[in-house]
Symmetry: C2
Subunit: 265 residues, 2 copies
C-alpha cells in the first residue's frame, strides 16, 4: 500500500513532486507527477484538464509478478495505463495453444482489445511486480467530449497499437528467425530509450520461452540465436541481462534481404 517506487526506475526527468500536499497522494493519482506523463498524455494539456482526468481515475492497482490484470472473457470496464512494470498480453486458442500478442511496458495502455465487444479478448499478465492506473472507459469517453486534445491523443494511441501489430505481422509473416530476434531486441531497445533508459543495456523481463512464443519460434531457437549473436560480438547476454554491442549489424540483419547481391546488380 506504499507509494509506487517511481525512483527505482529513475527516468531521465524525475517526477517533480513540488508543492503537492502528501495527504492528497492517497486519493488522487496525479498524472501530473507520474513519470509516464508524457507517454500517456498529450503535450500541452492544461493543469485543469489533467485534474479532471485524475478525478475519474479512482484506483491504482498493484499486480504481482505472474498475476493477471484481466482475463479473456471478462467484462471490459477499464483501460489500464501502466505506471511501472511489464506485462504480456496473450491470446488463448480453443485448442489451448497460447500466443503472446505483445509485451507492454510503463506508459503503455492495456485493455484496448475489450472495447469492441465489452469483453476482454486476451489475458494480461504481469511479468514483474507492476502498477497500473485503472481508467473507467465510459467516463473517459465522456471526458473526450470535453477535452478534444485527450480524444485525439487516445485515437493516436489506438492507431499506434494497430500499426505496432502490423509491424509484428510483417515480422511473423516475412522474416527469418535471426531477423525476428534482431527486430525484437531493437524494438525493446527503442522503447527503453523513449523512456529515458539505456538503449543498449537492459534486462529482459520475459523468459526465452516467452520471446520464442511471441516471435513464432521455439525456446531452443531463441537460445541458439542469442548464443550466435553473442559469438559474433553483437550482444552480451548473461541470463536476463542484455547489452547490445553492435546495433548496426543487427539493423543490417533485419533489412538485409536474403540475397545480398541486389546492392550493385
Amino acid at each position: 500500500m506504499t507509494l509506487p517506487q517511481v525512483s527505482s526506475i529513475s527516468p531521465i526527468s524525475g517526477p517533480k513532486q513540488s508543492a503537492i500536499p502528501a495527504s492528497l497522494h492517497q486519493i488522487k493519482t496525479h498524472c501530473a507527477t507520474c513519470s509516464m506523463h508524457d507517454l500517456c498524455l498529450p503535450v500541452g494539456l492544461s493543469e485543469a484538464d489533467i485534474s479532471r482526468l485524475d478525478d475519474i481515475i479512482r484506483r491504482r492497482r498493484r499486480i504481482k509478478r505472474g498475476e493477471t490484470l484481466y482475463r479473456m472473457g471478462e467484462k471490459f470496464q477499464y483501460l489500464y495505463a501502466i505506471r511501472f512494470g511489464h506485462f504480456k498480453a496473450i491470446q488463448v486458442e480453443s485448442s489451448g495453444a497460447e500466443q503472446i500478442t505483445g509485451f507492454q511496458m510503463s506508459g503503455e495502455l492495456l485493455g484496448l482489445d475489450g472495447i469492441a465487444t465489452d469483453i476482454h479478448q486476451c489475458d494480461a499478465i504481469a511479468l514483474e511486480d507492476s502498477e497500473v492506473c485503472e481508467v473507467p472507459f465510459v467516463q473517459l469517453e465522456d471526458l473526450f467530449r470535453e477535452i478534444p486534445g485527450l480524444q485525439r491523443h487516445f485515437h493516436r494511441m489506438m492507431s499506434r497499437e494497430i500499426t505496432r501489430e502490423q509491424g509484428v505481422m510483417l515480422l511473423l509473416g516475412s522474416m527469418r528467425a535471426e531477423q525476428r530476434l534482431a527486430a525484437f531486441l531493437l524494438n525493446l531497445s527503442g522503447r527503453y530509450a523513449a523512456r529515458g533508459y539505456s538503449a543498449n543495456r537492459f534486462q529482459l523481463r520475459m523468459t526465452r520461452e516467452e520471446i520464442g512464443n511471441y516471435l513464432g519460434l521455439t525456446v531452443e531457437s531463441i537460445s541458439r540465436l542469442l548464443t550466435k549473436f553473442r559469438q559474433q560480438d553483437w550482444l552480451k547476454v548473461e541470463q536476463r541481462e542484455l547489452e547490445i554491442v553492435n546495433h548496426d549489424e543487427l539493423k543490417k540483419l533485419i533489412s538485409g534481404t536474403p540475397d545480398e547481391d541486389c546492392s550493385n546488380a
Copy 2:
C-alpha cells in the same frame, strides 16, 4: 470503364432507394441508403445524426482494380469506408519485402493506420473496382463530441481492428500451413455471411500469391494446400471460385492440436 457490377454481389437487403429525389444522390452520400449501413454505423442512430454524418462526407471515390487508395508516407486526412469492392493493405519494408496486413471488404474501414502520426503507414490497393466514402477525420472527431453513439461505435471499430490483428498474429505465430489456410477461408466465409452473401460459395478476390503473402506462406504452398483440401472433399475450387463443402473439418483442423491425444489423457 463500365460501372462496377454491384448486382453481382447482390446483398440480401438491397439499398432501399425509396423516396429520395435523384438529384440529391449527386451531392450527398446517404449513409441511410447505403447497403453497408449497419456495418459502418451504430444501431439506433437518428435520421438527423446520420444526416450530419452525410454532411461531412463530401466525396465518394472510385478506385479501379490495382489502383492505390493511399500510399505509405502520404499525409493522413481521411478515413475510408468501403461501399463496395475489396482492398488489400500492404506494409513495405525497407528491404523492399512486402507484407499484406489485411484484406478489407465492403462495410470495413481503411486508413486507421494513419491516425497515429498523421502519415499513412501502409498502402491500400483495390483488388477490384471499388468505391469508398471519404471521411475527413478531423471533422469526424468533432462530430464524435456531438454524437456519443458514433464515438462509441468508432472506438469499437478500432478495437475490432486490434483484435483482428491479434488473431492474425496467433495465426502467423502458432499455426501450421494447413491451419492458416483453413482459418483464412473460414474467416472470409464468416465475413461474407455477415454481409448477407453465401457463407459457403464465394469468389476469392486475391491471387494465390497474395493469400500466401498474407499467411506467411509461398504461392506453391497455397496451391498444394488447396489441391489437398479439394482432394479431401473439403472444398471445391476452380480458379477464384470457391465452395466450402465441409465447414466442420476445416474448423476441426484449426483447433486440432498436433497431438490429438490430450483429449482424454
